[in-house]
Symmetry: D2
Subunit: 335 residues, 4 copies
């Protein structure tokens, strides 16, 4: 199941150390302006090596549009966006060919498929998310025309909530060959009311599906989230007046349908599993081994997840927007 | 989108005050024992009126198998499970025909569809979950044959974590016409490794989708959940030995694939939005109104969500189990 | 896979001698007028016993709307349409409990599922098509508002193409305990251009899928159909003028997209497999047996297939219509 | 809808004169041997320019595996197969930028999307089928391991049924700048019983869907096909003995489920619409024009469709094979 969405259908492919990664988008509306630089701008934000808070690995991530665009406009036919894998050093990974890294998908892939590409995580690598960002870029460009804006921010790292505290926590982790977790927040403004498809395609359910499908995410909260547990109904309800809502505990989604308020989502991201500290593990023959993961890893993947989470949110909203169009003439006629 | 699952496809239908609610299950394996009492046992756990902690409303919820079973065994053809709506007092709802209740889906349905059945929430009523419980019962009976067991428990209510504290909080809320939030935990034992379908059909993503699709759920955590944010990689990683894992921060799912460990999930549930306390709202003409919701409502829907969450977990696992069978001969051959 | 369609999703359930058959429609647009008599009118056309050319079996086929309609209008929520099975005489079928009838699905169901409901064909019975007709009725009522009209006619029976010849062939077959094949034609007028979804969801491909999925259909032709084989390109091409096309060999669909011309489809239907003539067969233990199928069977199922084919065409067009709405604002803006 | 299949999901992309065409296969079983030359062998059979009966256009069609294979074996992750577009002369098509060619999808794409790539048919070009052949090659290699063999043959051209007659008809058409229609037959041997998914996913319905989705196909027949219309039930039924069936009018599929007999399918293919003969048409402003299509076109696309039809059959069977695995343990246990 490498396809996301029912209307704006995004299928990613590619292993981190294979020939290329990429994405096919089926169901993209025709006739809107799209170019490689438009998409590249979003990929550049995800690209590593841009600050000392992220991995210094070099990845060019140059996107190429193979299909679906003609003379600068989308055709309504499938877009294929391709990113060649360059600067890959597969030899680096020979030592983990038969070792399962703790906190990684290594053993899971072997248990599921009976085979895996061990190099850099293969399909389970964070590199796969570049394809999501490329697809998300197309969706965001479309959504922006509809004045729907998505903004992700890093809220917390290892218990710290100020920029200085967060940066210090990340640098400390990096210097010690360690890693730390964090919280990412997403805000969407301009989302029209009526998006989301009860009962199983609720907008918040689709967001949770999208966000929990990002590697490393351990919790998803909408609006009040966990705080709701300590509230009474009267406190939690967002009362309505002719001028709008008096609060936003719903996080912009009620009954699985967007209300027109700001959509608010938070993700808890686990610390990067690749750490230098020696850990107990097993190999493919189930023998005890010790492992110390070397290499240039992100000390806090929450940082890198921000643009990925924005992209996934764009895919959810784009899909919901197209879904709603099917019934728009009918619901307008009646309301 | 009233269908859940790709292999064990569950489609629910019905409004709370219509003729009936029910569910069609397509893709149910043939040849296993199934009877109405088998399913009824699960519905009875969800039924209201069984203690003073839940609504005293009477709902019989008697399930009828309309198709898909012959001489006590499933046929492999679609099961239709029907629950007639009885004891419904639609007249009770005339006062909210043109009012939008705060914290409810009333206004969302109107914004989305341009029309709504206002009686008891219509399609957005918690009553729809009876159909989910019926479908989940079929899945659970099948999973139990495979020794996969699902257990839901109420962990916390309004900040209290002892049975006495939780019960007191609920009774207090009830007596004041108020409501309180809570936390539900799910545990799955016996789940084989290898379930879950990267990259977009990760098992934890499917669980988050299923759980956030239950009305009132505001957060979903897997394993360490929000705690992961305050941990280092070395602390969070579940180290492996030939005898098993040394911890379970992953919550039984790593890289989106079940590991064979216990699956652990927590849901944060908001307080019931129906409260007696007067609140500001608007009517369908956008005029200011005050509302005080009368009637016999659950003071803490978290209590009622336990069997629903168990049912949704069963649907997720059943679907993943059938999915994995497609490749099982190939992955076994290689591993 | 008991669901048809991606936008107007129709899931049928029920065995011919179970409690009931029915259908759930998910994705039905909200706000249009729908009542039980509206649907019943279409079911009555499919019902047996209305002339001496069809089986004299009595089936009431009274439809009940269980959900999705409120005060006479669709809600946008799933419709469940139920038809109770009455007048069923299951005992009639005891003799074929262990026998596989030639030309029937009996053995196929056993080979696929390892179990079957032998009574009246169970799930493979033509009775299942009543649920399709009910769903098709909803689609047709909607399409008629858009001025899209569907008409099925019986073109040929056992080589005869005049009403007298066809009726005589059917009566002869009936009197001899035999059966005969026939050709059904469908015509659609008023279909707007632009429906159909290349490359795999071509409108003609969807029609072929729908029609070949009706039991007994052995061939589907669009427009020129088999005649195309004997034509040159110049003969076959439908030339265009500012006033319209000069011919309609395409049958109203070109490149998988409706052209605005009349859609023309023909189905070849095999003779009813239930015949009194003794035939060789085997039983469930693979032993040789002779069978002579008794009972009141249709001597020519092509007659009965006309309303079913109309219904399936309605489902295809309804689905394509909703699909096209997703991109309509974009394609209009550009053209 | 550029995706085919529910389990072995094939998504093609690419316009004939864009950068590349290709296909992503999701759901391919892990652990079987696959290399570029394996796939190339099938593409070479589709490639033009191999005899004087087909277009002399040069297309290299060199396939590249971008993902999903590691050390010569499939990973279970998505395969991306890419074919660069080379030797394309887009300038050739400037004269049809504003003209709609009769018998082509030109006008349909404009009516549907409001925009089109006019060069060589763009997405509607037969070139897209190279991606299908590449995907079909993967399926066929897998099916061959299961001893399921697919063979397509050209049965008839312009009314001629001998090799000499067919070749002469094609050469005559070519020399006159004309084109002719034909019939393609598919035979499948070794298909196990039990494949196909009633009621809407019948194996014959899926085959009809696949075949009618190939550009130019106007009719699909299974087994007796149109001949069934002139038969009685006794003639048409395939009687059974302990040693097998006495005939195969069903064409290997009964009740939508494979019977284990040879699967027999026939396709009627229209004449290539590109002819030199001047024809009436219109331009994008709805003005009358005359057109004479120049260039090196296939005089009989039925010839070229043979490998495409084989590929589509492979996709259908592969999908059905994986589908059946979901219930195999259960149906075996009971039968």
């Amino acid at each position: 199941m490498n396809t996301f969405g029912r209307n704006f259908r995004v299928t990613t492919f590619g292993e981190s150390h294979g020939t290329a990664i990429g994405v096919v988008i089926d169901g993209c509306p025709p006739g809107f302006d799209l170019s490689e630089p438009d998409i590249q701008a979003f990929l550049d934000k995800r690209r590593p090596g841009q600050s000392d808070l992220v991995t210094p690995r070099k990845e060019d991530d140059a996107v190429q549009i193979l299909s679906g665009v003609f003379e600068g406009k989308t055709l309504g036919t499938p877009l294929c966006l391709l990113i060649q894998n360059t600067s890959m050093k597969s030899g680096d990974y020979d030592t983990i060919r038969t070792l399962f890294r703790p906190g990684h998908a290594d053993r899971g892939y072997m248990q599921k498929y009976g085979i895996r590409d061990h190099r850099g995580g293969g399909r389970s690598s964070g590199r796969e998310t570049a394809a999501r960002v490329a697809a998300g870029a197309v969706a965001r460009l479309y959504l922006e025309k509809e004045r729907i804006l998505i903004l992700g921010t890093l809220l917390e790292v290892y218990g710290k909530t100020t920029p200085e505290g967060m940066e210090e926590a990340i640098r400390n982790a990096r210097d010690e060959g360690e890693s730390v977790g964090g919280v990412v927040q997403l805000s969407v403004t301009g989302c029209p009311p009526g998006l989301g498809d009860p009962v199983f395609g609720k907008l918040d359910a689709c967001i949770a599906f999208a966000m929990m499908g990002i590697g490393g995410v351990k919790a998803v909260e909408i609006g009040s989230g966990l705080e709701a547990v300590k509230m009474t109904g009267t406190q939690h309800n967002d009362q309505m007046t002719p001028d709008g809502y008096l609060s936003n505990n719903a996080g912009g989604i009620l009954g699985g349908i967007s209300s027109g308020q700001e959509i608010l989502v938070r993700l808890a991201v686990k610390p990067t599993p690749s750490v230098r500290t020696p850990q107990q593990t097993i190999d493919t023959r189930n023998c005890a081994q010790e492992i110390s993961v070397q290499g240039r890893h992100d000390p806090c993947i929450a940082v890198r997840i921000v643009p990925v989470a924005e992209a996934m949110m764009a895919l959810v909203l784009m899909d919901a927007l197209l879904e709603q169009r099917k019934i728009t003439p009918d619901c307008l006629q009646e309301s």
